[in-house]
Amino acid sequence: MKVLVPVKRVVDYNVKIRVKADGSGVETANVKMSMNPFDEIAVEQAVRLKEAGAAEEVVAVSIGPQQAQETIRTALAMGADRGIHIKHDGEVEPLAVAKLLKAVVEKEGPELVLTGKQAIDDDCNQTGQMLAALLGWAQGTFASKLEIADGGAKVTREVDGGLETIQLKLPAIVSVDLRLNEPRYASLPNIMKAKKKPIDAHEPADFGVDPTPRLKTVKVSEPPPRQGGIKVESVDELVEKLKTEAKVI
């Protein structure tokens, strides 16, 4: 089985995000970038499938600027076999990404696509679902457990109020959630070896896809600053305020 893992280059999760002065987006100049944490979980799962003998090849694919190759290298250092880079500067939206991934899937013929459930920069949570729709494949979203057996995938999903287990026919798209695994640190020797693994470079046009955004960002603004805390006199007062002011209970 071949597993395809799309990986996105995003602002590092430790970075304090700053909104650009003109409200057109967030500051990304001189900001540390790294692999979307959910994608890291997807790569880890794919590599584990390979280590367990359930997968033969893990291919990482990224759509983004030249530096997205660094993100692919991270996946290669974790254990992916090779990379595909589709170079595109500027914003890409989930639908364009899903169309490009569809083209890659048709070319590569994987039986499983493992995506992060969402990217932490735009929190769209759409790409995996759109890809499943475009391909007409089965999908299992928000996976916290994944087993491959008898030509199918058993996916435990984190849903409101509990866990749901579903059985998918392969080929399938599975989007992964936080609790699926704890991604490894790429070892230093593997980081050095990753340099020698191949990355195929493409442009969106190679796949006949026009990635021009269809949505326009009107305005990006900072969340309102946090109000100072208050001290309550008693538990009763606390409960009262939680009910009436915070409206959380």
Partner: protein
């Protein structure tokens, strides 16, 4: 530099993240238990940290000195005990073999040192032999095709967990000083070799040092590094040359951690109605530390580059070791001062680092010995 910037950045980022996510959070437990938890040791092995300076052909990363110091800048932000665990394998415990070993010795030991399967210790110091290292007294009596070792080594880092000792011993008692000394590779468990109880130290808990005793300990002649007796002291000095740059880089890393802790505390702590960071006398201490740290990192990078370019850097290495170890002492002192009473309390990392960094001015040559080396090298030049 052998590595491209992207790969080096990736290496450094990975070590930084490991330090922040895995090592720093576990520091209080290591201090409490005087031991690094086995799962962390395993993770450090898996990461490849034991083989930074060991050539790729022997299973290591084969980093240049300039690359190694960048990794040290990242790793040394965590408690010095973590770097001590990997320090001997990358430095004094393996470099003797790398620099002067025979190809059999390299094949036998380097891959296991690089993976961390075997921990290497370096045994030079003795009860009566410290700064005057060439006075090594431990005797290695030739007997047929072997040598018989008798004597005691002192303060040997990682001795209780070591699988291999590089032992400096006198093979020729008729020759006083450096020329009569040879370096031996002695596996732990060799009959006649025993390790004493761990020393009770001021700091760097989590790293153990101990005496190593040799009582009619017989080793084959093939255990002499490089196969030729009488070259051990020269080997030891070459080993220390590289080690001093590594230690200097670790001092800078500790200073940067101390400075970050100080900055964070100074922003939080309020007196006279404002954060103490607003007081110019506090700012002066922070600025002083930052400036000295910058000087230290700059000189370490410069010396490392020179060494990679093939220049002899005995003088520069000693300058770096002297300046950076003294510098981190001053930075630690200011860090405690900025923390006030809290800096004297074990709840704050600066209390621990203050004790930990004191060692850097003592081992691998005291500050006085570095001064002597620097002066000697200058006088040689003129």
């Amino acid at each position: 530099m052998a590595l491209d910037t992207e790969t080096l950045t990736h290496l450094i980022d990975t070590v930084r993240r490991f330090v922040d996510e895995r090592l720093i959070p576990i520091e209080p437990r290591v201090e409490e238990e005087n031991a690094i938890p086995p799962e962390i040791v395993r993770e450090m092995r898996d990461l490849g940290l034991f083989g930074l300076s060991i050539p790729e052909a022997h299973g290591g990363l084969g980093l240049s000195m300039a690359e190694e110091v960048e990794i040290a800048f990242a790793l040394g932000r965590a408690s010095p005990c973590f770097r001590s665990l990997i320090g001997t394998n990358n430095g004094i415990g393996s470099q003797g073999i790398i620099i002067d070993g025979t190809s059999e010795q390299k094949t036998e030991w380097l891959p296991r040192l690089a993976s961390g399967e075997v921990i290497g210790s370096f045994a030079l110091t003795e009860p009566d032999v410290g700064s005057d290292a060439a006075a090594v007294a431990l005797s290695a009596r030739p007997e047929g095709d072997s040598y018989v070792l008798n004597g005691t080594k002192r303060y040997i880092t990682n001795a209780p967990i070591a699988g291999l000792f590089t032992v400096m011993a006198r093979t020729d008692p008729s020759v006083r000083g450096a020329k009569g000394v040879s370096a031996f590779l002695v596996p732990a468990g060799t009959p006649g070799l025993t390790v004493g109880k761990p020393d009770r130290k001021m700091g760097q808990r989590g790293t153990l040092t101990a005496d190593v005793m040799f009582d009619d300990c017989r080793v084959p002649a093939s255990a002499v590094i490089g196969g030729v007796a009488g070259r051990g002291f020269a080997t030891a000095m070459k080993v220390l040359d590289r080690g001093r740059l590594h230690i200097a880089a670790i001092c800078c890393a500790a200073a940067s951690r101390l400075l970050d802790e100080s900055l964070a505390y100074a922003r939080e702590r309020k007196q006279f109605g404002q954060p103490i960071a607003e007081f110019q006398l506090i700012q002066a201490m922070l600025a002083e530390s930052r400036t000295e740290l910058y000087a230290g990192t700059s000189m370490v990078r410069d010396a490392a580059r020179k060494r990679d370019a093939g220049q002899a850097v005995t003088l520069e290495s000693s300058c770096c070791k002297l300046f950076c170890s003294e510098m981190v002492g001053r930075v630690a002192d200011r860090a405690v001062q900025i923390h006030g009473g809290a800096g004297y309390m074990a709840d704050y990392p600066v209390e621990r680092f203050y004790r930990d960094v004191r060692l850097f001015r003592l081992y691998e040559g005291t500050s006085q010995i570095q001064q002597l080396i620097i002066a000697r090298e200058m006088l040689k030049e003129t």
